[in-house]
Subunit: 133 residues, 2 copies
């Protein structure tokens, strides 16, 4: 029984290796565009409105050109004059390229997000960066 | 000869599997803190000063608490009132946590970067976000 068992183990391990290799090979090319959005709420102190907006940002992740979506809130790093932690919610999205960001802007899910949640925010700042590193 | 050859192949494949698994397991936990810095230059139109600052930002990647470092320049996305593309260089760093960012701030490499390159910039804005996605 020893030999077949070992073979079975080896076969499974080999499949694992094949799977791992395939996954690595299938990964998309490195995204080159970061789209970082900072939202300030009308009711800046409202944890309820902050939670609602976070719920809204989460709906965006179904947009197919998004490679990674990070939702953030201000971190408790040291208070320094250059640090702006006055926003309520941040949304950091990686796209492959400018075209991916354009598709996102015009996407029905994004338009619905703006229609359903823009009453919550007072100010938005967007920084689009091309990755050169 | 068939059997040993196959065994040898399987042994290599198994090692590959082991290697892949080990790599995956050894990956750090998902970084939770994004530190996004935007720089405006004193000579905002100077491509030379922009290149110098990029060279400076690149020196930071040796700081051991940095999980990912993206260096960016303004992307050619659509001009909209909410988009600020007036900065010259952006630096997006992922840390595991606030402690990782604190280590970075106090690190000799970071202090040297500020000493050597801060004469180039006029304004800096920093956004530190805790990832909740």
């Amino acid at each position: 029984m020893t030999q077949p068992t070992r073979r079975s183990f080896i076969a499974k391990t080999s499949l694992l290796a094949l799977g791992a290799t395939t996954t690595l090979a299938a990964e998309p090319s490195k995204p080159m565009l970061t789209h970082h959005v900072f939202f300030w709420l009308k009711n800046q102190a409202s944890k309820e409105d902050q939670a609602k907006l976070i719920e809204g940002v989460k709906t965006l992740e179904k947009i197919e050109t998004i490679r990674h979506l990070h939702i953030g809130v201000p971190a408790s790093t040291e208070k320094r004059p250059v640090v702006d932690n006055s926003y309520a919610v941040s949304e950091l999205i990686f796209f492959d390229d400018v075209a991916g960001q354009n598709t996102y802007q015009d996407h029905p899910i994004h338009k619905k997000f703006v229609a359903d949640y823009s009453h919550l925010w007072e100010k938005v700042i967007v920084y689009d960066s091309l990755d050169i590193s």
